[in-house]
Symmetry: C2
Subunit: 424 residues, 2 copies
């Protein structure tokens, strides 16, 4: 219908249908399907009452209600940005001065994905390289594809990105003379999507040091995606990668209320190195002419009324039950199958599962249709690997426990066990 040449290069790079769209089309084959695929938040624990309360409080002050309905600024609502910065500093146990950061570096967007896009669009040209874990968050990989940027996969383990593997890639590029193409390292630093692992403090320090040491005429930035930081169910919090960047010139932090509060309200944010504030805002103003102001006032009220932390307690308890249900079902239905194992998550929304090596978990492999027939939908792991990845295992799958109930989780994992046994 449409000549591909009629599209921009960027649109062609963006490729065709999204993975999720394809999965959904497949899912229609079985209406009784349990989806362990979508990384959505739990529908049942969405903050209906806290939001109502915040709206009532916001609307009780006519001047604030008016301001919320008017245009905001490109950078976002000041008092909200103050609180966001304060929360980050508190979580990291450092003052803003110690973090070498000020509120002028905090930008609000309609979801953190938009923030990551703006930063990427500001820094990356076609042909540039971003080092990503293998595996990585697939929507970010899609975003890089849009920009004609090469996503180069770096080895990971149960502690996320391996600094030695990152250094190996940096050193090789330095030797071959194209280090200058490496513009950034991307990591979901807490409860990664899809692998669920959190990068420990020592590795964070090492990665920041590497980025600085290999920075030449241009800086190598670290894009630290903290989307799941608040979804911690067991164990201690870890200081952000940003807290290891004393000069504040290397790490770009992205955060969001989509996981911790509500994806429908859709407020994300980011903390920029000083030198990127002006170019990112210049681009942002032309693209969105300001993010929704109303939702920023709403989230500001949620924070000032202490409605977020109460809600977080509630959803952590709920997700803790769900992940426990998934682990219990996996122990019962999957562990007995030779060659199946997984990382036990302590936070986030995902379980990253390894199947026997011979099994191709992809949409065109034998397992996927069998799983749908048995009643369960998953994300084939292959979509989570950067386009340039030395490893590309076909036997990984991502399960999510965010949306389904404990019963559905149990049903889905059991169905998956049946499907795997049929193709082993």
């Amino acid at each position: 219908m449409l000549h591909q040449e009629a599209l921009s290069r960027r649109a062609r790079w963006a490729g065709g249908e999204q993975v999720i769209t394809q999965l959904m089309a497949k899912a229609l084959a079985n209406p009784k399907l349990v989806s362990l695929a979508a990384g959505f938040t739990d529908q049942q624990t969405l903050p209906v009452d806290p939001t109502r309360k915040a709206l009532e409080i916001l609307w009780s002050d006519p001047a604030r209600a008016l301001a919320a309905l008017q245009y905001g600024t490109t950078i976002g609502y000041g008092p909200l940005r103050e609180l966001l910065l304060q929360r980050m500093c508190e979580a990291d146990g450092r003052s803003a001065a110690e973090m070498n950061v000020s509120v002028d570096q905090v930008v609000v967007t309609a979801g953190s994905n938009v923030f990551l896009f703006l930063v990427a669009d500001t820094l990356l040209d076609p042909g540039d390289v971003v080092l990503c874990g293998a595996p990585s968050y697939f929507v970010f990989l899609g975003l890089l594809a849009n920009l004609g940027v090469q996503a180069v996969g770096v080895e990971t383990d149960q502690q996320g990105l391996i600094p030695e593997a990152v250094e190996e890639e940096l050193a090789r590029r330095a030797e071959s003379g194209d280090l200058h193409r490496i513009k950034a390292i991307y990591a979901v630093s807490y409860y990664d999507n899809p692998s669920s692992v959190t990068i420990p403090a020592q590795r964070r320090a090492a990665l920041v040091e590497l980025a600085k040491r290999y920075s030449g005429d241009h800086r190598i930035r670290i894009f630290e995606d903290t989307a799941y930081r608040e979804l911690r169910y067991w164990g201690e919090d870890t200081p952000s990668m940003r807290s290891f960047d004393r000069q504040g010139d290397t790490v770009v932090v992205a955060g969001t209320f989509s996981k911790s509060f509500s994806p429908g309200i859709r407020v994300g944010w980011g903390v920029l190195p000083r030198d990127l504030v002006e170019p990112v805002l210049s681009l942002k103003g032309n693209i969105d002419f300001g993010s929704p102001n109303f939702s920023q006032y709403l989230m500001h009220t949620v924070l000032t009324e202490s409605l977020l932390d109460d809600h977080l307690e509630r959803i952590r308890a709920s997700y803790r039950e769900k992940i426990s249900a998934m682990m219990e079902a996996a122990d019962q239905f999957l562990a007995p199958i030779d060659g199946v194992d997984w990382i036990r998550p302590t936070g986030g929304l995902y379980v990253w599962l390894r199947l026997p090596e011979a099994i191709d978990s992809g949409l065109d492999g034998p397992l996927f249709d069998r799983a749908v027939e048995e009643g369960v939908l998953y994300v084939p792991g292959v979509y989570c690997y950067p386009s340039q990845s030395r490893v590309l295992p076909r036997n990984m799958i991502r399960l999510s426990f965010g949306v389904p109930s404990c019963e559905e989780i149990r049903y889905g994992v059991e169905a998956l066990g049946r499907a795997i046994r049929q193709v082993v």
Copy 2:
């Protein structure tokens, strides 16, 4: 501080500070300043009560409240898209079948600027050409600059884009062999920003016909920006340019609730030709992973509860008073000055004013600082001209009557008159 080479080409194309930022910095010089610069909507008539009512109704249905807080789809909330399409068809007095359009072609975004960006990013490569009126909406010109696209200015008059001037440009390009670089024609078809003119039906038909006739291997699209359609104070509505595109393959319509209801809620939309739906959504999913769902549910409720049309009556009455105040003040304080004239608006938010030819109205010219001293801020017309424009008059200014009160408008226009007299 930052090496320009460290930025992407797009960021460099985006250029430095935004016009508005520069204006605001200048404005700080006089705190008693009346701003006739910002194109914002009137703060006093923002829909505090209708929004409260819609929120109460939305929150009275727990299932809908939950859904509003969850992720939506990339294309946007279905029932809202249905209503948007219905409203467009009703305004144009045609059925969807006659318009050759279906709801699958309607996309919702966080403001129509984002929609225009997504379409532009889908269709335009660096070096491509978009024909724009001279003058044109400056944020859209900035967006084209981001993309490395050439904005070529075409002559306009009191009826907007002149079809003969558009054809001349098309014919010249056809002759020189680079017609293929012209990818689109951009027009704010109702109460233009900044010129306030509405393109009459006959010209709309002629422009659509031209775009089709000169379309070769690729289509020349018309980007029809209808942001101000609802802000009609006198006279009849005009059918959209889209209604003259019987095949529906040429005109891309962008619309928004930012002017008609609330810019803070920030819901925009667009209607795409069929062949652009999939590529635009593919890009959109990677960039924003869905627009805010909550605001879409809110605007859907505003529409189903008939809260928009009542509100529109109210703001039309208020803006009618404001534009009358501005015209009265202009007749009194500006008309007597030789060489000053303007187009009398029948809708929208702007007055496009011509000064004596010798006066440079730019930030570095003699008038601007004088006007600030006298107590009024305006937008220098020079920012509203495409980068490649055969005409680039320095003596135009844009005034807006959206935000100030009638008293402030009178004060501001009188101050402007004093400033002009000092530099004549």
